[in-house]
Symmetry: C2
Subunit: 411 residues, 2 copies
């Protein structure tokens, strides 16, 4: 593996020399070749699906694995879109002149070699490859074993385009080792790899974070809260709470726990109960909640659980202070929202909650690179360093200082 | 230790509530109290110096450990200066409005809890504490055992000021465990600690990087190069090379290897040899260098060594391509400079060299937070992520998105 990664690192130098227009052209070629090779991709995917049948994978997993014409066209379209994103490299982030006349420029540059570890979906292969290529990074892709044939077919197409443009195939490659040990080695190769982005289940992400010597930007859980304050507009509050829970319960920016101000529990809990009824949401509640509405009991464990399902815990808290305290204890630092018309309460919540995204009077469901206008989304980071919250393609860059002199020496 | 760190994390919430003016006032109080307690600090330092004598520490180490009135006044002055830095928290880094009317603001916030691991110098205690406090971060300081009494005396003063202002002492504290195991535990406490900054020898930094689960921003070695191109102004080239090496050889931004373009070796090597003579620099060179000037032989190991001494390796390379190749192989990504009057050659070097700071026609000695105008310097990062190159106080912040709505839900 070391030889493979060393080649990958060396190939980064060739990427740096590509002009923006060239990168764009090559990406469009990749997207076109994906469309042209529809048949080959479908055949490879059929092999994976066959194996999935033999291994008795769950229907959900099989659905993630499965490709058809429509899904392949969507893959190609996504690569076309990434091609057209604004050039992320070479942005002048800052610049100034020193007393001695030295001119300093802080300029965005590629990070270098990025390892992306993901699970079944084959479309991640082309998406991640295109995002890395557009931002001038070498991509080392480690997909799931169950999507091996599909990933190899897609990578082969991308590498064909690289070759046709005189670029080494190491610029986009699949990790040649599908075993668990492959990941274990990769995440320790800080000599060659600059960043690891794990996408997948909590166990994978925890394993990578705990064992990597390469820096990791991770997306793990989103345990998001909605707090309804005593000064809330009840109409807004109910709409926001329902939307945050039911519009798509299986995603990280959906609400898991609803916090209700003690002062209004008797007025708002019943209308909330009625509002959730048509969506058949399973409601759970604390003792105080259950004095007002008839729901299951919510335990400590519930407050600590990212359901990713149509289940909601409700807790009555002592005003905004109580809400902040609860979120500090159970929140995952992803997205939190307060519903209130009170300026001072809103400001307090916005300033004191430590999360990637803090909302007032809006659903947490808006935490999304697409919604934020970043174009293609790399993911949603729950890191505090490097990138936090929705990650766009600019977050696949770092920077360097360029300093222009006329012979200056230090006295 | 877990209880101690859990208290530290909780105290972060109190820091967030402090206004900029309060933080400034408290820092000035700390600086004043350091001056007022000169006697106590000197007494504590005398105990450390006594122990240093018993343990037979090297003169260099003893010098780093030693405090006198002048050094304590400098410590206090540094804290006064940090107090007056521009407020790093709450800067609006970006902001825009979405189609649906949501107003997004990207705002700088403290990172949270920062662990700083350092060696003998006691002034790092007050400096690091002040930088963390100014940027709203809780500081967990782990100094060297040899400066234990001095560090404790300084920390006690800072904590007295915290108490007088109604703040918990956990906001600035020394790690209660001086053992090697103390560090081992601290760097795994990602539940409570958000960032580790190790300052010290290569062994310490390597150990921390390899074992931490907390993110690490490290300053390790600076193996900096100066490349003299065939189109260089020889006068500038010689001045820059001499300055980069001899002005202060013991620091990370000093040059270790001089690269000379093959095309001019016969013209420039002799004047370079003469220019270094008055500084008694030990010169080493490759075979081609030694054909022109009489110097020791430079080995592979020399090119890979950060001397931090008045020693210089010289290597003749094949133009700018050769220089870039050599730097790619041996450089530490810190600071690199090219001397040339040729526009295209300069641009090539500036774009293709991957280092925190890339210079044209200037000495690498300028890589410094103070010189760059950042005020107090946190250090020089050799990370690629989060902060790269000279780190100012703004690099002790992260960001969050604040999103202001009027009841928006996701359709």
């Amino acid at each position: 593996m070391e030889e493979f990664l060393s080649k990958a690192k060396r190939s980064a130098a060739e990427l740096v020399r590509l002009q923006s227009g060239q990168k764009k052209r090559i990406l469009h070629q990749m997207a076109n070749l994906i469309e042209d090779n529809m048949k080959e991709i479908l055949e490879a995917n059929a092999l994976d699906m066959e194996q999935a049948e033999i291994n008795n994978l769950s229907p959900a997993l099989k659905d993630r694995l499965y490709l058809d014409e429509k899904r392949i066209l969507a893959m190609a379209r996504s690569v076309h879109e990434i091609a057209e994103l604004k050039e992320p490299v070479g942005r002048v982030l800052d610049g100034w002149v020193l007393d001695n006349g030295l001119r300093v420029e802080k300029v965005s540059i590629p990070i270098g070699v990025i390892g992306i570890i993901y699970e079944s979906r084959p479309n991640v292969t082309s998406d991640a490859a295109a995002l890395c290529f557009k931002s001038g990074n070498v991509a080392i892709l480690k997909g799931g074993k169950e999507s091996m044939h599909s990933n190899e077919a897609i990578a082969k197409i991308l590498q064909e385009v690289l070759a046709a443009n005189g670029l080494p195939k190491e610029v986009i490659s699949l990790l040649p080792d599908y075993s668990r040990e492959g990941v274990a080695k990769l995440i320790k190769m800080d000599r060659y790899v600059d960043l690891i982005i794990p996408r997948g289940g909590e166990a994978l992400i925890r394993y990578v974070s705990e064992n990597a010597t390469v820096p990791v930007v991770k997306h793990d859980k989103g345990l998001c809260h909605t707090y309804i304050d005593k000064d809330a507009d009840f109409d807004k509050a109910i709409k926001i709470a329902v939307n945050a829970k039911v519009q798509r319960p299986g995603v990280c920016n959906a609400m898991e726990t609803l916090l209700v101000d003690y002062a209004i529990k008797d007025e708002i809990l019943l209308p909330l109960y009625e509002a959730f009824k048509p969506y058949m949401t399973t409601l759970k509640g604390c003792v105080l909640t259950r004095e007002v509405i008839d729901v299951e009991e919510a335990t400590e464990e519930d407050y600590d659980t990212e359901y990713l399902e149509n289940i909601l815990s409700i807790k009555v808290v002592d005003g905004v202070e109580g809400a902040i305290e609860h979120i500090r204890r159970y929140g995952s630092g992803h997205s939190e929202t307060i519903v209130t018309e009170n300026y001072t309460t809103a400001e307090k919540f916005m300033n004191e909650i430590d999360a990637a995204c803090v909302y007032v009077n809006a659903s947490t469901r808006f935490t999304d690179g697409g919604v934020f206008g970043f174009g293609a989304e790399v993911g949603i980071s729950t890191n505090k360093l490097h990138a936090r919250g929705p990650m766009g393609i600019n977050d696949l860059t770092t920077y360097k200082y360029k300093i222009y002199g006329e012979g200056q020496i230090r006295e």
